[in-house]
Symmetry: C2
Subunit: 377 residues, 2 copies
C-alpha cells in the first residue's frame, strides 16, 4: 500500500517539556537507522527491552532488536530482550502489567534499562506504564506502527491500563525519551485502520491550524494513497500541534489540553452505543467532529461553511460523516458520564472558525439531541 519512499529525509518535532523534553523523528525508508537514532539520543544504552504488538513483531520489532544488538561494540555490548503482547485493548490489564514487570525483572532490568515499545496505542500505553513504574521510572522509546499512534499517543506522555469497565483508569504521565516514526512502518496497516488515523489529523487542522487544514484539503488524495511526502508533512504538523498544546498543559490541569477532545465526547458515545467494534476510533471521531461542528453552527458560534468544509475533507479521506443509527436517547446518558462533564452539565469543545475552538459549558441538552439527529443523514 505504501508508495516506495524517495530517500532518507528525517524531520524532527520537539516536544517542549523542560527537563522532560524529547524529539519525534519523522522519516520514510529510514527505519534501518532506528538503532543508531536510539543510541545517539539516549547515550548510555546497554540493556534494551523491546515490547511489541504481536501483529508487528515481524518485521518491525525483530529488525529493531537485531539492529540494536548488532550496534553494540565489544567494549560496550547491548543486551536486547524482546516479548510480544496480544493485539487489542484487553492487553491493557493489570494481569498483563504483572507479567511484563516480572519479565523485565527476569531479564535483568535495572534503572539504566531502556524499554522500546513497537506497536499502536495499546502497546504505547501499556509499555509506557511499565517504563513509568519499573524501578520508579526508566527510559522508554516509542516506535508507533499505526497512523493514530503516530499523531496522537506519541505526543503527551499519557500511559495507562484499564480497570474492568473503566478505560485508562490507571496510569502515569511519563514522557518517552524519543519517538521514531517512519512512514514505511505503516505498510503492515490495513487501509481502513490507516484512514481512521486521518480523522485525528483533520482534528488538528480544525482546532489549531487553519493553514494546515487548507493543505489537507489539497493533499487529501495523496494522503489516502499514503504518499510519503504528504504523509510526513501531515504527521509532522499534527505532532507540532499536539506538542504545543501539551507543552502548555502537561498534566491536564489548566484545561488547555481539553481542546484535543474536539469531537471525542460524541465519539465515545458513538463507540459505546454502536457496540465497540462497529466503528474504529477514528471513524467515530470523524462523525463526532461532524456532530460538534453541527452543534456549533446551530448555537450560532460559527459559520455554516465550516461544517461544509469539514464534511468535504472527511469525505475526501474516505471516512464517514453521518451515522444513520445515531440515537440521542442512548448517547446522552453516556455523554453525561464522560469525564468532561462537570457537575452534571454537558461541556463541549466547539469550533468558532477553522483553526480555533472554545470550551463551552452548560450546553442545552435539546441542542445536543438536535445535532445528533441531524447527523443521521
Amino acid at each position: 500500500m505504501v508508495t516506495p519512499s524517495q530517500g532518507f529525509e528525517v524531520s524532527s518535532v520537539n516536544v517542549p517539556l523542560g527537563g522532560r523534553s524529547y524529539s519525534i523523528q519523522i522519516s520514510s525508508g529510514a527505519s534501518d537507522g532506528f538503532a543508531a537514532s536510539i543510541r545517539s539520543a539516549l547515550g548510555d544504552v546497554s540493556h534494551v527491552l523491546v515490547i511489541a504488538d504481536e501483529a508487528v513483531d515481524q518485521p518491525w520489532a525483530e529488525s529493531v532488536s537485531a539492529a540494536l544488538a548488532a550496534s553494540g561494540e565489544e567494549a560496550s555490548p547491548i543486551r536486547v530482550s524482546r516479548t510480544t503482547v496480544a493485539s487489542g485493548e484487553p492487553s491493557k490489564s493489570i494481569a498483563e502489567m504483572d507479567r511484563l514487570l516480572q519479565w523485565v525483572l527476569q531479564k535483568g532490568g535495572d534503572r539504566r534499562s531502556v524499554i522500546v515499545a513497537v506497536g499502536g496505542g495499546v502497546i504505547g500505553d501499556l509499555a509506557g506504564f511499565i517504563a513509568a513504574s519499573f524501578a520508579r521510572g526508566i527510559r522508554f522509546v516509542q516506535v508507533p506502527t499505526t497512523l493514530l499512534a503516530m499523531v496522537d499517543s506519541s505526543v503527551g506522555g499519557k500511559t495507562g491500563i484499564n480497570l474492568p469497565g473503566a478505560k485508562n483508569m490507571v496510569g502515569a504521565f511519563w514522557q518517552p525519551s524519543l519517538v521514531l516514526i517512519d512512514t514505511d512502518v505503516l505498510s503492515t496497516l490495513s487501509q481502513r485502520s490507516y484512514l481512521s488515523g486521518l480523522a485525528e489529523v483533520i482534528k488538528y487542522g480544525v482546532i489549531d491550524d487553519a493553514e494546515f487544514f487548507a493543505e489537507l484539503e489539497d493533499q487529501a488524495t495523496a494522503l489516502v494513497a499514503r504518499k510519503p511526502a504528504a504523509l510526513r508533512h501531515a504527521i509532522s504538523r499534527s505532532c507540532q500541534s499536539k506538542a504545543s498544546v501539551v507543552g502548555e498543559d502537561e498534566r491536564e490541569t489548566s484545561g488547555r489540553r481539553a481542546i484535543l477532545n474536539y469531537g471525542h465526547t460524541f465519539a465515545h458515545a458513538i463507540e459505546a452505543t454502536a457496540g465497540y467494534g462497529k466503528f474504529l476510533h477514528g471513524e467515530a471521531v470523524a462523525i463526532g467532529m461532524q456532530m460538534a461542528a453541527r452543534l456549533a453552527v446551530d448555537l450560532g458560534m460559527c459559520d455554516p461553511s465550516l461544517l461544509d468544509r469539514q464534511t468535504r475533507l472527511i469525505q475526501a479521506c474516505c471516512l464517514p460523516t453521518t451515522w444513520a443509527d445515531a440515537d440521542p436517547d442512548a448517547m446522552l446518558p453516556v455523554m453525561m458520564r464522560d469525564k468532561k462533564v462537570a457537575h452534571g452539565k454537558l461541556r463541549f469543545i466547539l469550533p468558532t472558525k477553522i483553526g480555533a475552538v472554545e470550551m463551552v459549558g452548560d450546553v442545552d441538552e435539546a441542542a445536543v439531541r438536535a445535532a445528533i439527529v441531524k447527523l443521521k443523514s
Copy 2:
C-alpha cells in the same frame, strides 16, 4: 507508653519541591484536628478514600474518617470510604494493588478524590502508589503511625510495591499533599518498634547535623521514654534533614540522595542473612551504621571518637551495636547485589565527622570484611 501530651502545639516542616512542595505538620494531642487540617491544606475535598493498616484502623483511621465525614457541610458534604490492608510487607503486591484500585473505582473515585494513608511504611508505599496511578495521579495525605514512617517515608515521595524477590521494584515518585504527624498516634506502637525508629533519627545526626546529634545525646533518655517535646523535636529535625536532601535530588538522579543510605548497605545484608524477621529494620540499621563507622575509622577517614560517640548514643537508645553472628562470607554476596554497587565495585556512604558523610567508591573487600568481623562483639 506515651506520656500524656501537654497541649496542642503544631510545628511544621516544609518539603521544598517547587510545584510539588508540601507541609509536614507535627503535633502532640492534636489528632482531633486532622480532618480540619486536611480540608484547610487541600481545599476542594468532597470524596476521601482512607486506606489503613488493619492494626491501626482502630482507633486512628476510624476517627479520622468519622471526623472528615462530620466536617462536611450541607452544601458541600464529604463522602468517606475506608478499607484496611493486612499488616506487613506481603501487602505490597500487585494483587493488593489490583484490589485497591478496583475498590477506589467502585467507591466512585475520580480525579478530585483524595487518598488518606493511615499506617506505617507499608501502607504509605502501597496507598501512595495507588494515589500515583489512579486516574494518572490523585492527591494523597499521609498519617504515619510508626516512628520510622514519620521520620523516613513521610518525606521523599517514594511509593511502590514489590515483585517476587525484588523489594520496591515497582512504583512512582509521587509527593503527598500533606503529612500529619501526631506523637500520640505512637501509643499503639510496641516499644521495640518505636526504638527501632530511633536508629533512623540518629542517622540524620551523623550524616547531616552535628548539633542535632549532640541534642540526641542529651535527650536519649527522654526519647526512650517517648516524652512528647523531645519526640516532636527529633521528628521535626529528622524531617528537615531529609527534606533538604530530597529537595536537592527529588528523583534520586544527582547522587545527593544516596547519603540517606548511610548504614543501609550493611543493614540490608544483615537483614537478608539473619533471616527476615530476626532484626527490625531500624535494629539492622543501627548495626549497619556501626559497621560503616568502623570501616571509616579503619580507612582513616574519621577519628575513632566518632565511632565511640555513635556507639554510646545507639546504646542509650536501647538499640543493638554489635551482631555476634555476623558472617562476612554470607553478607558480602548480598552487598555485591545491592543497588548501590556500580560495575561490581562496593560503594559506601561513610562519615568524615559527625554531621558529614562522603560517598566512597571501590572500597577494598578485605576492609569491609574486617569491619564486619570487628562488630561481632
